[in-house]
Every structure is written in structure tokens, then in C-alpha cells.
Amino acid sequence: MSEQTEEHTAQHIVGPKVYAAVGLALLVLTASTCAISYVELGVFNAVVALTIAVIKASLVVLFFMHVKYSNKLTKLTIGSGLFIFLGLITMTMADYISRAWGRW
């Protein structure tokens, strides 16, 4: 039992340089998402805004929340949680779309 190779977070320490770079990237992305919203892109306005938001959230999760350096259990837990969340949204939307079929 104790001979099993256990995978523990070596409590990797992320340094100030990485934090500063990520913080700066987040501010730049905030400015750009604000600027892009003034450009007419049709339906792609929402796509671009959400893509930038997802990139920003990923940066926060990976570096500020240390998930890039965490163990597989944590990564898998977060992944499956988000998967279920997206599944629930998809099923809800499928219901709404199909009920009002043709009346959009």
C-alpha cells in the first residue's frame, strides 16, 4: 500500500515574475475586449468577447490558482466539473430551442 507511487503536489511555488506577466496579460486582454466591442462584427462580437473571457479565466485558473502545477486528481476534478456544467447548459438549451421550434 505504502509502496504505491503517490502523486502529490510538490507545492510548486509560482514566482512574482509569472504573476506579474499573467496580471499584465489580463489587463491587456481587458482593454482589448473593451475595444473590440466597439467594432461591428455581427454575431462574432459575442464569440470574440466570450473567447477572450475564456482565455482570461484560463490564465487565472492555470497560474493564479496553480492548476498548471497541481496533481492529476485536481485537474480531473475541475475538468469533469466543467464538463457536467456544460452538459447541463447544453441540455437546457436543447429543451428551450426545440420547444419553440420555428417560433424564433
Partner: protein, 255 residues
Amino acid sequence: MSDSTAIANGAVDEAANAGHAEHPPYQRHHFESVAQQFDATNFAMWLFLLTEVMFFGGMFTAYMILRNWYYPAFVEGSHHLSIFWGTTNTAVLITSSFTLAMGVWCAQTRRKKGLVFFLLLTFVLGIAFLCIKGIEWHQEWVDYHVPGLHFSQADFLNPKLDPAVYNEYHDKPLIGGMAAKTEEYFFLYFAMTGMHALHMVVGIGILVFLIFRAMQGAYTEGHYTFVENFGLYWHFVDIIWIFLYPLLYLISRHT
């Protein structure tokens, strides 16, 4: 701590002592190692955050459905939010996440003064965020944009009533009952930013506790799990705002 010292000091009981290896005072006995203890706590924190994802997820789903149905109302509603304060607040919150991440680093590298400094900075930025939110909510009250309590469709039936917004976006009057749907946009706006602000208030409360404990020298003696896990909470609240900002403020800013 009490367990280990009791055994080390008095008890001659070899059986109880057997297998009791040296460990830091903050390691609980049901964990094999500090690393295992850290992982377990970290894992639990993530499970909690996932329930929070589901909690906010309900509101995001409602937003998505209503936005699809009443898109023109959502566009004009968002034109009446302050892009300046919204963007400023996003920057404030992102900076507070950065300062808290620096606080975690100070705790990890046992810098007591640095930890207190960055926690205080995070506290100030958190308060600043709530103040700016207060300015915006006050403006919405003045403009009759608070659903249920202080709401009027006038700005959407006749956009020229609000010259500042009209001159920038030249919104056309909403017709066929669509103007009434702006109330649903503002309902979601207050529900989502309100729930987010409530999380900020809770976070700031915990932060005050952390600051006092950090000034007493806690967290910089190797046991920084509380700071790390509070950081996860704070960054999570930041992520919620990262999505609220484009969804509420940036629906369609072009004219």
C-alpha cells in the same frame, strides 16, 4: 501539536510511540504527510468552487435564454451601463487577484511583512471594487433602472430622454412590448452583480481575519494552506466577474 508533545514528553508507552515519525505541528494525524494534507484540503476547496460554478451557472443560463429572446432590450439596457466604471472595476479586480497571488507567494517564501502588505492591498482593492459598484448602482437608481423598486421604461420608449447615451448610440425606441423586457435585463444585472458583490463581501470579511492572523505571524511558518485556499476563492470570484463584464457591459457597443 498537543498529541506529539504529550507522547514525546511523558509517555513511556512504546506501543503508542511506535510509528510516530517526526512531523510539523500543523500536520493532522490522519494524514500521511504534509503534502497529502495539502492535497486533500486543496481538493475539497475545488469541490466547493465547483458547486459555486453550478450556482452562478444557473444565472448564466437564464441570461443566455433571455438574451436570445429579448436581444434588442439587452442591447439598449447595456448601453445604459457605464463602460468607464465597468472597465475600471474589471482592472481593479484583476489587480486584486494579482496582489493576492503575490500574498500567497510571500506566505510560501515566509515573508511576513510582504504577506501583510499584499493582503492589505487586496483588501483596499476589494473595497474599491465595492465602492465603484455602489456608484453604478446609485446611478441606476437615479435613472429608474432598478427593476421592481424604481423602474421606468421611459428611457427605452423614448431614448432621447437620456441625451448622453442617445448621442453616443442613437438607440431607436423599443416597440411591441420590447421596452418592458429591459426590466428583465436589469433584473439579471442586479441578480448577477449583486450575488457577485455578496461573494466579495464574504471574501473581504475572511480577508480581514487573514490580515490579523498574518500580523500575528500565522501562515509564514510553512503552513499557508488557508491563504492558498482563500486565494482560490478570491480568484474564482474574479473569474465570475471576467464573464459578467463582457456579458453585461459589452453586448453591443458599436452603433
